[in-house]
Amino acid sequence: MQKAILLLFALIGFAGKAQTENSKSNQNISFVNTFQFTIGFSNLSPNKSMMGDAHEEAFPSITARLGIFSYNRFTIGIHAALHRMSVKNNKYFGEFEKTTVFTPGFYLSYYQPITSESLFEPYISYDNSDYTTKGYEKELNSKSDGLGLGLDYQHKIGSKAYVTFGLKYSINKMRTNTHPDWEKYINNYNFLSAKVGFTFSKDRL
């Protein structure tokens, strides 16, 4: 974990330097020029699944993302999300109280201006989720791999600031071995997230 954080800081430092050097030579390429912070709801409209049936909607869901490399309107970056859900049904999931979900990952986005002050930014993401469930003197740890499909609407409120509204649909596969007849119900976990927050970005509108 420490190595990963050091690598991240090294990458950001390098990218910042590179951006300064490249800004005059090529305006289409930039590094670390977008940051987003949002708050919202998660686990909305889950599919028929063990995780979906077991948990309430999550609020607040806190998300952040950092664009690492941008080329024209495309951006590749890293993201992280954190939310907590109450357990409402323990029949198949187990007798617990709350699940905390931490989801780091990568994303690729493309922004499309729609007016002089607003834009859409669809994106796809890889979501690597860690679930820690506690309650009644028990702890359960689980993991999943996921694909996120999202769309942000951003409205300019300052020279680099945008108020942001977004929706994201997450398609997750739990890393669980189980009986083949039950695999779909146990492992396939999809849900919707909604968020509002701010994006800070240079050279967009």
Binding site: K91, F93, K138, L140, T176
Partner: protein, 140 residues
């Protein structure tokens, strides 16, 4: 100094409380049927919990009798906290799943009807096939 010792003692006391730890990398599906006087036992509470000190030597699941442990070579005690809870349906059917306990692969089932309850065991590697356990028909 007293405060430090009191603090250390409190921390030790709290950490001494046993929690049950599970990993979600495996899920065992448990299904079965419960009869009472040859009729389905409906809406009975069913709890599954880990058993840490039992060593079953077969896959047979039958009632575990507290008072006559010789009937069940593996007298159980020291049970953990309930990992999964459900109720039998109108046909007396049980259906639930449990994650993998990191300290044991042995579990017992407690079925309660009103104030009465009976314990059945054991779920173990002897009767778990491809992450599935069929309890068969349990006569309450």
């Amino acid at each position: 100094m007293k405060k430090i010792l009191l603090f250390i003692f409190t921390v030790l006391l709290l950490t001494a409380c046993r929690d049950d730890y599970y990993e979600g990398d495996e899920r065992i599906i448990i299904e079965g049927k419960v009869l009472y006087n040859n009729l389905p036992l409906t809406n009975a509470e069913v709890r599954v919990y880990p058993v840490y000190n039992a060593t079953p030597n077969s896959g047979i699941i039958s009632e575990i009798n507290y008072n006559n442990p010789e009937n069940n070579a593996n007298y159980y005690s020291d049970n953990g906290n309930t990992i999964s809870k459900t109720y039998t349906n109108n046909s007396g059917i049980i259906s639930l799943s449990i994650p993998r306990n990191i300290n044991t692969s042995v579990y017992a089932i407690k079925i309660s009807r009103g104030y009465d309850s009976k314990v059945y065991g054991y779920i173990s590697h002897y009767n778990t096939i491809n992450y599935y356990v069929n309890l068969g028909t349990l006569n309450y």
